[in-house]
Symmetry: C2
Subunit: 482 residues, 2 copies
């Protein structure tokens, strides 16, 4: 038990070392663990249960907008991957290659999907014949491999999980509408379910997806001041349609190349949840994606099993009855105090304490994970009060994160100030940019900040580029990024 007690309290303070704090939380809340396979992690049951909730929230939205799930092979023959020139150039350096199957040396090596455009487009070229076959709206939830050099659990691993949508449309306009529709699905889902506020925008040429016409993204701001790309939606234009010969006979009986989109979010969203909401005591999970909404902890005293235990079980049963995810921690080898710390570290939104006094007074002590606020809840009001409290926690987490985002978005016109902010406090810097990739590149080299997004709705107030002073049509968001 001594070892276990240290375990709970042994999280490096966030203010002291953000990066160590992050890995401490990941490991001690048992979200993930390192493996003997370099750069690959195990997603442990508690982390995976969180990912399952994230999946449920998004999968529902993907289906509600008319998309269907499918499964395409993980292997992509090298010749297929090479068909779209920019695409292979962007991904080849990160590909893991299968060269042997059983005893057989493969004639053509197989890429493990770093993304699935190539294999999916090879099927779409078979399936698409007529305008009647369009649109095709398909998504898949799969594992992805990219041979990264530097890895960190959830944020960047050689193998990770994601969903990738791949759609085909008859016109450019429809493909653009789909791209923006999905961007809005992502924004709605990440802001409302994960309580992570976002900036949505367009990527620059240098930051867009390899093979895309344009890439839109939603960007979040972590509490260390670094931006995190939370989801991307690509308008692929006709690049892949031309490379893979995806053509259809239109209503006017002419053969035309199709227009496509692709879009994805990954298990790094779990990392974003940790870094947006967590504190020195560990994880804080937004109720909508918490595997456990409410942890009930009995406070033992003489005769507790006869008096307290039945009430604990009744409360558990009643809360399960209204579809809440609730668990009672009845382990006798641990003290209530130890349990408080453990479940705080694991980020359970709400704790209920029930002891002799609560039994006598027909109420429970409720403690919010996000604020630490304690309150008394009358047992008759349980089914009404607990859901209200959880909704309040969800809102409050979003508001707090939104305030942080706003407080750490700096409108800057001076390059020295730009550099100073990036160096000291970080955050988004909202500055004019002339549109020249050379300015973008120099800023990156000199400050490590990149352009995270061109705003979807620019102010249209012109000004001078923060780097070169030339006339610029709009401000853009810069930040150091994960």
């Amino acid at each position: 038990m001594e070892e276990k007690e240290r375990f709970v309290t042994e999280i490096t303070p966030k203010s002291e070392d953000f990066s160590r704090w992050y890995t401490d939380v990941v490991r001690r809340a048992e979200l993930a663990d390192y493996t003997t396979v370099k750069g690959c992690m195990v997603i442990r049951p508690y982390g995976y249960a969180t990912w399952e909730k994230v999946q449920e929230c998004l999968d529902r939205r993907i289906k509600e907008t008319g998309h269907q799930n499918a499964y395409f092979p993980m292997f992509i023959p090298e010749s297929l991957l090479k068909k779209e020139a920019e695409h292979v150039e962007g991904f080849a350096p990160q590909v893991a290659w299968v060269t042997q199957g059983g005893d057989e040396q493969l004639e053509e090596r197989l890429a493990i999907r770093p993304t699935s455009e190539a294999i999916i487009c090879s099927m779409y070229s078979k399936w698409v014949r007529s305008w009647r076959d369009l649109p095709i709206l398909i998504n898949q939830w799969v594992n992805i491999v990219r041979w990264e050099k530097e890895t960190r659990p959830f944020l960047r691993t050689r193998e990770f999980l994601w969903q990738e949508g791949h759609t085909v449309h008859a016109t450019e306009k429809e493909a653009e509408e789909e791209t923006l529709k999905i961007l809005e699905v992502y924004r709605d889902f990440i802001e409302n379910d994960l309580a992570i506020p976002l900036i949505a925008g367009l990527k620059t040429e240098s930051e867009k997806f390899a093979g895309a016409l344009k890439t839109y993204a939603v960007e979040a701001l972590m509490t260390d001041g670094k931006a995190l790309q939370a989801g991307t939606s690509h308008h692929l234009g006709q690049h892949f349609a031309k490379a893979f010969d995806i053509k259809f006979e239109d209503k006017d009986q002419k053969m035309k190349y199709a227009w496509q989109t692709s879009w994805g979010v990954t298990t790094r969203l779990v990392g974003a949840i940790i870094m947006t909401h967590g504190d020195d005591s560990g994880l804080i999970l937004p109720p909508k994606v918490a595997p456990i909404h409410v942890i009930i902890i009995p406070i033992p005293a003489a005769g507790w099993q006869k008096k307290v235990l039945p009430l604990v079980k009744e409360v558990e049963r009643r809360l399960k009855g209204i579809e809440l995810r609730v668990q009672a921690d009845l382990r006798e080898v641990y003290s209530p105090g130890w349990k408080f710390s453990e479940w705080e570290m694991r980020g359970v939104p709400l704790r209920l304490e029930i002891g002799m006094k609560e039994v006598a007074e027909k109420r429970a002590v409720a403690v919010r994970r996000d604020t630490g606020a304690k309150m008394l809840i009358s047992l008759v009001d349980l089914e009404k009060e607990i859901p209200l409290l959880l909704a309040e926690i969800q809102n409050s987490l979003f508001k707090k994160a939104k305030k942080f985002l706003q407080d750490n978005t700096h409108t800057v016109d001076d390059y020295d100030k730009f550099k100073e902010i990036i160096k000291t406090k970080g955050g988004f810097i909202y500055s004019f940019w002339c549109g020249d990739p050379q300015c973008e590149q120099k800023i990156k080299e000199e400050t490590t900040a990149t352009i995270r997004a061109l705003p979807l709705k620019p102010d249209h107030v012109p000004g001078g580029c923060v780097k070169c002073g030339r006339p610029s049509a709009q401000r853009v968001y810069f930040a150091k990024a994960y």
Copy 2:
């Protein structure tokens, strides 16, 4: 449309060529398609939606019995795979190997999981310290790769999807209980949700999982008379615990090796559904796993959009209101007759036809996919009658399949008759076997039949081995198998 009409009717009759019938159904019901990657299939949206329902049914049961989902790396370093001798011997010939990552030639090649015992046990040896850490009850839903020579969609592909449970226990007894508990979970799930009757039993030494102490399985009988292994549950003994050093301090303060189990079912269950229930018109899906329970087809006539369409939408809305999966086929380019065939081919359990007459008489024509029986349903009774009909279809499919299994299970004491039955009608042959692997092997060579299962509850009536005549303790189930 001509091409489309041919498409629907172009299913090879089942009696003419079972194997072609199977692949016709798979492709024309758009369950799966072939790809440019040899031996790998695409699971198309309709097939994947069926798999998602299968997953939901089983995942619920896995969680209800106390298991949690997780995700372990897909890559297994060769040295890990080699730790358990029988295991590597069994799987090495089927492994796909990654030898390059990006530009880097890997120092040690990585197996793509053919099953995950090795990588999971490497983590369990880290996680298990004390009896307090036990049992560990983990499952994962992942893709698997085995470099098969002969492949067929869903039944045997180089990449497939499955769930694999991996548990750790303090005692042999607990591990045995877990193995049998899961076998019962599989039986309950496959019989009740997939409507596929089973024989449950123990595998012989030659048929057991590479590395297991013993393997239990549930075996189904396809309508061509061949058996299909539908799920396996392995008691791993201490084989892996010793190879991977999974030890714990027990309550008596002694260090002990743990006992383990593993168990899985795969996407081949979709193949089992097709081959158990399908007929010459195509697929027949049991309601519990059908992506669409009810297809509503309007019968057009002059003015149908004003009179029929509103009723179609009302029926759709009302059935959705009681959580049924319902779809109205409003496409105007296809005739009702064409739609009837298409949705029959896709195996939708129930069709509702609504035309002018039905509007006038306030009812709908319901047609069962399994029997073709037509009936009239009064609209006021919709919410009551449709669920009853679906339950009736589910039961009826199981009963029919159960009768087929019983009719095709032959108690045989004569080897010539054994050979004749295997050669002509197939099915299970219930015969005495002396227990000698040589008899088992000879029977396999001479008849292609293998021992599918030693019954869980043997009759304990002794007799003479069907091959050698020596005294045998019990009858066992033989069959030709997929």
